[in-house]
Symmetry: C2
Subunit: 143 residues, 2 copies
DNA sequence: CTTGAAGCTCAAGTAGCTTCAACTCTTATG
DNA sequence: CATAAGAGTTGAAGCTACTTGAGCTTCAAG
């Protein structure tokens, strides 16, 4: 029951778009599928499975090159699942680092907005103390 | 006291790199500076101030095109500081949205790692239930 | 005067796709 | 069977915000 899928059908089932699928094929992340007489790509269940895996990894934020590693872990009988765990741990760490950066950014931006409310009366550019602060070397109002 | 700065000195004082400064010049975010006889760029305090402002906006996560707007707010006498506040508010909202995404990602990755610990004994690829889950359509272990 | 650091220009590379132009193929309907 | 819409094809360029590289010139210190 390995029903044939067009690129559009594969896209719908996997959550990728047709151009993305062609792109993955181009960079060697997906195999080159069989073609119909007219040249249209034909996919099967195995392709859907693999693409689903790839999309899921991408949703997890893994960069393409790491996805390549992960795919090879799946297909290589000799490599272990703990490799996936370790890669996921690394990924978790970088997600957390990025979140910490964003938290700082959030705090700074919040301060900037608050300062704009408190210290400026909505005056024009050159009179605004906030804009002056932003342009001054050293620490900034929300820095 | 408008001491002259080389591109390297400007870089050190502003936190940008020389290539980045040249890039900003190329895209019209910084004016074209005067040159010495040998062709080297010469900057002044005004350039440092402007670049500091730009870098700070970039650190806040504003995209280049919005920085362009912000710079014009500064230089246009008729436009008000509240514009900056509004842009900062928008930016704050998108930072928060991005953070929410990352929080979900963190939770999912955490689950993935936990599942790998709990359900797999570190077996090889084809035997790992986690890898199966990731490739299966529909919901995933940490989905 | 020599040497090494810093600067110059222009071009290409990075990630991860998306979008475009200019076609061809398939499928549904009349 | 004709036709028109929609889906598919290709290769190339575009996107963000820079970074890197090649190959050369200039500057500052000793």
């Amino acid at each position: 029951m390995d029903r044939a899928l067009s690129i559009g059908a594969l896209a719908r089932h996997s959550g990728a778009t047709p151009p993305t699928i062609r792109y993955y094929e181009q960079i060697g992340l997906l195999r080159r599928p069989d073609r119909r007489d007219g040249g249209h790509r034909v996919y099967g269940e195995a392709d859907l499975k693999r693409l689903t895996f790839i999309r899921r990894c991408r949703d997890f934020g893994f960069p393409i090159e790491q996805v390549r590693d992960l795919v090879s872990v799946i297909e290589d009988v000799d490599r272990s699942c703990t490799e996936v765990r370790d890669l996921a741990r690394d990924q978790l760490a970088s997600v957390r680092a990025r979140m910490a950066e964003l938290r700082e950014l959030e705090a700074s931006l919040g301060l900037l907005v608050a300062d704009c409310e408190a210290r400026c009366a909505g005056g024009p550019g050159p009179d605004c103390v906030i804009l002056e602060d932003l342009a001054a070397p050293g620490r900034c109002c929300a820095g």
